[in-house]
């Protein structure tokens, strides 16, 4: 009957059970028990379209070309994966190839000796390194050594806006923070929320702080936090940024009820393309969602995009950006020699091969491969792709998402306090004090 069916489907969704057919992978080739022959490598990555098909396609093409050294893929839902991979690595059951975001989480794997040092491999295969955006290696590097292969696409955070709503209200996109604050009452007066925000997801609010910190004080302000300097969160530029974001909250800059909206459900995206909100600060990966969910919103030229505006008197370069410089593949140090060999071979010949590059571009995203301008220009989404490519390649600083850059312990405290900051439950000073307490942890 209907009830048990929906229950099982929802349970599957919620628990994030491995979705692909490769459930058997768990049993057949756990790392460390190589036994006789076989020696298949395993690879865990995220489900969710359109990205999942591209990832799976790359593995399938590799497997066809290498019948002897095959890779068994398993996919997981985003949030479930974050917990699952951590537990698996801790239990010594990691897959051969570990998909991740680099940064602080990668550092915790490195410190536990769970991932391979790829520095010498990249030295031997210099052409692979040269082919990728140099900015993508920052989050793959821990203490000067490279522990992950950058892959997939570059995803800066940009300011999206609904052109139709702007025309309707008769205003221009903001060029500065003062413009933003001046736009807020104009949109509110027409019953349109100035900004959409999926505040329950927490990292969505964080993107605002990432940009304000950078525009006001430059990348040094967060770098000091990352480097573990004492009281780095109390920097005057940090306090100013925190104050500014609370001013925007107090002026009703965000959609009513933003604290209960999640990004996972794409409700924040719907607010923009339905015209209930005028603007949205979000990663470039959401372009595909607007395209897919918004009907003719994107194709009719309704979606506008721009880099985050400047803040008056701020020190940061207006070309700077934040977001995901790339995604990352690491090799488990617990894998056996044959599995490691397959993984490295996959990195060299399978990852970001020409076909995969083309598929990413078709999905409206910019792969981290150099010299793709021609391909980008031929795409249906050429304007957006060129915009993303320019931001990524011209940015003097490409800040990694804070929750990925910091250790999981510090990131959790950060996200908690960001929610309280947006609810006006803590003052900028209290926020800084709470976070100074976990610097370097």
């Amino acid at each position: 009957m209907a009830v048990p069916l929906s229950r099982r489907t929802l349970l599957g969704l919620a628990a994030g059970l491995p979705v692909s057919a490769a459930l058997t992978a768990c049993g057949t080739s756990g790392p460390g028990k190589s036994g006789g022959g076989g020696g298949k490598a395993t690879y865990w990555y995220l489900s969710g379209q359109p990205q999942e098909d591209v990832r799976t396609g790359a593995v399938e093409r590799y497997n066809e070309a290498n019948p002897k050294g095959r890779i068994t893929p398993t996919t997981f839902q985003n949030d479930a994966y974050k917990t699952k991979i951590k537990t698996a690595i801790g239990a010594g059951q990691a897959p051969t190839i570990i998909w991740g975001w680099g940064g602080g989480t990668l550092r915790s794997y490195v410190e536990a000796g769970q991932v391979e040092d790829l520095t010498s491999w990249f030295d031997e295969n210099a052409e692979i390194k040269k082919r990728l955006f140099p900015s993508s290696f920052g989050a793959a590097t821990v203490d000067g050594k490279i522990y992950a292969m950058p892959c997939e696409t570059v995803e800066p955070v940009v300011l999206f806006y609904n052109k139709k709503v702007f025309d309707q209200v008769g205003v221009e996109p903001p060029e500065s923070w003062d413009d933003i604050m001046a736009l807020v009452p104009k949109f509110n007066a027409k019953g349109i929320a100035p900004f959409s925000l999926g505040g329950q997801s927490r990292w969505t609010n964080m993107m605002w702080l990432e940009f304000l910190f950078d525009r006001i004080g430059g990348p040094e302000v967060f770098q000091a936090v990352f480097d573990g300097e004492k009281d780095a969160w109390s920097h005057p530029a940090a306090i100013e940024a925190l104050t500014k974001v609370q001013e925007l909250v107090k002026a009703d800059g965000f959609i009513k009820g933003f604290s209960s909206i999640t990004a996972d459900s794409n409700a924040d995206q719907a607010l923009l393309h339905t015209g209930k909100a005028a603007m949205m600060l979000h990663g470039t990966w959401t372009y595909g969602i607007q395209q897919a969910d918004g009907g003719d919103f994107v194709s009719s030229g309704g979606l506008g995009f721009m880099n985050f505006p400047t803040v008056e008197g701020g020190k940061g370069d207006p070309g700077n950006t934040v977001g995901n410089p790339a995604q990352y593949l690491s090799i488990s140090s617990k894998a056996d020699a044959e599995q490691k060999k397959i993984a490295k071979d996959f990195f060299a010949t399978g990852v970001l091969a020409d076909e995969e590059v083309k598929e990413w571009i078709d999905n409206g995203s910019v792969p981290i491969v150099q010299g793709t301008e021609k391909l980008l220009a031929q795409s249906e989404s050429a304007e957006f792709l060129q915009f993303t490519y320019d931001i990524a390649s011209n940015a003097k600083s490409f800040g990694q998402s804070w929750d990925q850059a910091l250790s999981p312990t510090a990131a959790e405290t950060l996200l908690d306090n960001i929610v309280k900051l947006f609810q006006l439950a803590v003052s900028p000073r209290q926020f800084a004090d709470n976070l100074n307490a976990v610097i370097g942890k």
């Binding site: 349970l11 919620a14 009513k256 933003f258 929610v419 609810q423």
Partner: protein, 300 residues
Amino acid sequence: MSASTDSARSSGRPGVLPWLAVPALVFFVGFALIPLVGVLVLSFTTWDGIGAIHPSGLTSWRAVLSHPGLPHAVLVTFGVMAASWVVQTPLSILLGTFLAGRQRYRAVLSLVYFVPLLLSSAAIAVAYKALLDPNFGLGAGLGFEWLSKDWLGRPWLAFGVVVFVVSWQFIPFHSLIYQGGVQQIPQSLYEAAQLDGAGRVRQFFSITLPQLRYTVITSSTLMVVGSLTFFDLIFVLTEGGPGDATRVLALDMYKRGFQANLMGPASAIAVILVLVGLGLALLLRRLGGRDAGQSQLEGI
């Protein structure tokens, strides 16, 4: 009556009955006692869940007990416990009494009331989250202004929603317990009361409620101890938010352990949870009186 035949049978074949407890014992030791010891040991260590485990004495306990989040999480936990008990108990008793009637329509209704119990907490949470969405939910869809509030975005409203959804989910279960309890009450008591001229209300308060005393204790124990473990529902519904307004101990434990990679402090919270749960269960047994094993039907 049935108890006496049981004991007579077992005394006839000594040594068989204890063996029947073995499977349960194996499960209890394997899935409750051993992990419990593991958690206790872990609470005296520092571990990020990935690397090596370092013994660190009382560090984790100090970190947990001095963290300002703990008193708040305890307060929220007991708040949810108390509020859901206060909402669920009277409604469950009334529904249970109503459903205990032998009329056919009541049997049909009891089937309908039972439905929430068939749904998983995650499914319920996902459904309510969608219904309560301030921009695309029920209120916005039907055009009811009073329904399109920021239900999960304001601390007190979110707390209320959690209690409401918990009650919606578990009232059927407790009604079922009370239904059984009411049906156990000998009909002769009601007949006697009727002869004495007692009305329905008087019968309820003078016969049904006192006779349900042990059922109330059973159901309350399940509610109170069960509310310590509310996790899935709150995790999906609010993720403990907004801020930490609905962050109960179980959620705090998960977040510290699996999101912040602090297994030591998370284990310490788990130990606290176990102690609080055991303490409450013992307390409730005490409240039930030392003679809880005795019959209420003496003289009938």
